[in-house]
Symmetry: C2
Subunit: 262 residues, 2 copies
Amino acid sequence: MSTFDIVPKTKQDALVETLLRLADDRLIHGHRLSEWTGHGPELEEDLALANVALDMIGHASSLYGYAAELEGKKDEDYYAYFRDDMDFKNIAMVELPRGDFAFTIARQFLFSAFSYFLYKNLIDTVDDEQFNGMLQKHFKEIKYHLRHSREWVLRLGDGTEESHQRIQDAFDEIWMYTGELFDLDEADHAAIEHSLYVDVTAFKNDWQDLVNPVIEEATLTVPDDDQYMFFGSRQGRHTEHLGPLLAQMQFLRRSYPDAEWK
Amino acid sequence: MSTFDIVPKTKQDALVETLLRLADDRLIHGHRLSEWTGHGPELEEDLALANVALDMIGHASSLYGYAAELEGKKDEDYYAYFRDDMDFKNIAMVELPRGDFAFTIARQFLFSAFSYFLYKNLIDTVDDEQFNGMLQKHFKEIKYHLRHSREWVLRLGDGTEESHQRIQDAFDEIWMYTGELFDLDEADHAAIEHSLYVDVTAFKNDWQDLVNPVIEEATLTVPDDDQYMFFGSRQGRHTEHLGPLLAQMQFLRRSYPDAEWK
């Protein structure tokens, strides 16, 4: 059964929904980043990307773990391996194919900058102790992700003609998926009422004030906000790219649900 | 040019050769482990395997880095991306395809147990300060790799009928590649003379005393040592599996040697 059309009624429902939304973004993004392991442009960067991927999958795992506790599921694996694409609540930006290195960096930068402000605001808002503890722990790593991707945006934008063009193309391509970052639906509003989520539109300006100057310093052009924007992934209407990703990620576990060996 | 037939003459040559042999084992093993990222049997294990992979690639990167310094190469990437398969000095065990989870665990266990004794002995022997410092740092992580894989051997061996059979098959299949662990060639002897390597045959008994009881406790049978053993990978005569692995790992970097974006 899909859950995307159910608006959380209780505080616990709202908490579970929020945990899953945060976790799904990070699991899927982490999975896309992990596709670089062994394929990075240099050994050091290979390790750096793999570390960011691990952080993101790790964050997802803790968030799922808490949701599992609240919902009485056996463990966090249920959410990663046994839900269908319609039940995943991640934004479309993170499910897009890994693309080239420039695309990977542009996405990581835009997403990490968003996560930075989101977690900062959530830490000041969320009164659930266990959830807030996780946010604080993950926030430290998010600051590193932001620094890492920011440096690469500058290096690629202000690099060779080709690297400049590629990262410009990446920002141009990805921009239509940034609208979802600042979208709020009924489930979000329910969570906000319980002090479990924040009004993300309130820090859109802060995000722009962080992101735009970096893009400009990298001698790149900030894409126009006044263009077609993609919406609906958070509510289960995903791009065609999520299905194949889940098929690959879930195949073994679903084929042998109780097997540890495969 | 291949270097596998050159016996190191100077202490520095012997040091470079030793660094590369250690690093190649770890880079290739790390690469095989990284193929599990996003495909592990559970989220926790996905993260654990990816962490072990990262450790191994990290160890390789430091060892290559020191070799690059000694040989006046620009950086460690030369060794990972611009050598051909004949120049790689890794043992065959680590280049075998990732196989199923049981195979991955059996290999990691046998290799980590070997690394444990190798590093322990090297730390007591090597008088090169920088090299010894690395060994000490990596040794802590090797102890974790050993503990992690040991626990899984017990869990799989003493698990379901199928997991038992799979890990037994894995040990049976991999055993012919354990001979290379305790092989010494002229380059090793040259390194031993300079206190840069150790006589690995001296701790084969210790290795057996660690490995065999775990296999037996897991209700498995230790394969017969008196069987055909594979040799020659360390000297550049690899199995057919290394070429495709390198092709995949080196493709992007070789296609665009100065590009950062791809």
